[in-house]
């Protein structure tokens, strides 16, 4: 039995690693989640979530929301492999000086997750969007 469990442990690990290898068809994540209308819906939901969350809204009090909406859509589009050009500032430049702490960062991610859920993304799709955004955290936290 120990051997059986050990064997299945190894088999599962190998299977998981094999699945983790990039072998997917070339369709972009952008197209898969539904393209422009979905990215716009996510952004609108995100703005909505932020406006109802006092801990996060305080960061946005002086923000030009029209600009934020436009840049956030472009940013999400480009990073999910869509046909857009990002015309906003770098993540470092925009978030610098805001002293975003880890708690608020993670809370914002939670808001983004609900925005995606409300826009109809499946759990695996939400994870894949987070995967492309996650490496940017270093440019936003405690800057």
């Amino acid at each position: 039995m120990v051997n059986l469990v050990k064997a299945s442990f190894i088999a599962l690990s190998v299977f998981l690693v094999a699945c983790a290898a990039p072998n997917k068809a070339p369709q972009s994540l952008y197209d898969e989640i539904g393209g422009k209308p979905t990215v716009e819906a996510i952004t609108d939901n995100f703005i909505d979530e932020i406006s109802f969350n006092k801990d996060i809204y305080r960061y946005f009090e002086k923000t030009n929301i029209t600009r934020f909406r436009e840049k956030f859509i472009e940013h999400l589009c480009v990073n999910t492999g869509g046909p857009c050009t990002y015309t906003g500032d770098t993540m470092l430049k925009v978030h610098q000086g805001q002293k975003i702490n880890e708690t608020d960062f993670n809370l914002t991610v939670d808001l983004l997750v609900s925005a995606m859920k409300r826009a109809g993304l499946t759990y695996p799709q939400q994870n894949r969007v987070l995967k492309v955004l996650a490496p940017m955290r270093g440019e936003m936290l405690y800057k």
Partner: protein
């Protein structure tokens, strides 16, 4: 099944299900992990690099847990508390109660059917964030363990009734790695002299020095609230009686950041001369803040 534990579990669940947002919630759901049988934050059998609470770098967190392992001839319960500070340091305490079968009690002519062990744990996060950093989160820790009595330990040939394990653990969450699902893995290397986690003492006739044992866990987040996975824990063989490696297959339910419940099928192999020790592991963690 141990009725008392079941009762406590269900009462605990009710309390936590009706008391939303008491816990620190600076971390993403599930990243606080579960409670390890020796009190550290981890999987069920293996300590992880993640700390026990949902604290961010600006928060503290505290949790308590109860675990019950019910295998063919033995039962073990473990209860304890863990606190973590600023996602940097974790302190934990656990008390294990190991209940022996009648055949061993009479065989070894023991006066008590129970072995109790206290474990104080310390863990420090050295590097990274399991979700966000490019490399795995790495922590180092120790578990100081003391048996309440050395009777059984010395009868089976152990050298001492207390010891300290030292470990290094690496944990990584790969977002969307398996068909879009998040994969979590953990590897720990533990320097130890403990026999059956220390319940049968430390060191023995076959070996009385530290040895490094490898431990691992792998899990898949099926949804934000459900995790399935497996664990493996290598064991030393210090005594003349056989000690086998441990494995388990688990499923965890994490409805919110206040509580999680884990059920596992464990295979402990031969324990204290009793072969094929398999059974059910049940555990609950409640987060106080």
């Amino acid at each position: 099944m141990n009725n008392r534990i079941l009762k406590i579990l269900s009462v605990g669940c009710c309390i936590f299900a009706t008391a939303p947002s008491m816990a620190a919630d600076g971390k993403i759901l599930a990243t606080a992990g579960l409670s390890q049988v020796e009190g550290s934050g981890g999987g069920g059998l293996v300590p992880w690099a993640t700390l026990a609470g949902y604290d961010s770098q600006d928060e503290t967190a505290a949790s308590f847990f109860m675990s019950d392992v019910n295998v063919s001839d033995f039962r073990m319960t473990s209860i304890g508390v863990a606190t973590s500070f600023y996602d940097r340091v974790e302190l934990s305490y656990a008390q294990q109660t190991f209940v022996l079968p009648e055949s061993l009690i009479s065989g070894l002519s023991l006066t008590s059917e129970q072995i109790k062990q206290d474990i104080v744990g310390l863990k420090v996060r050295l590097y990274g964030d399991a979700v966000y950093s490019a490399y795995p989160q790495v922590s180092a820790g120790l578990q100081y363990k003391q048996l309440d009595s050395d009777t059984v330990a010395s009868k089976v040939g152990a050298k001492t009734d207390s010891g300290t394990d030292f470990y290094v653990a690496a944990t990584k969450v790969h977002l969307g790695a398996v068909a879009g699902y998040n994969l979590i893995w953990n590897v720990a290397a533990r320097a130890t002299k403990a026999n059956e986690m220390g319940l049968l003492g430390y060191g023995g006739s076959e070996n009385n020095s530290y040895q490094v044992m490898m431990e691992g866990s792998v899990g898949l987040l099926l949804s934000p609230n459900w995790v399935v996975g497996m664990e493996y824990r290598q064991k030393p063989n210090n005594l003349s009686i056989v000690e086998d490696d441990w494995t388990d297959v688990f499923v965890s339910y994490l409805p919110n950041k206040n509580v999680n419940i884990t059920a596992a099928y464990v295979d402990l192999g031969t324990v204290a001369t009793k072969k094929d020790q398999k059974g059910i592991y049940l555990s609950m963690t409640g987060y106080l803040w």
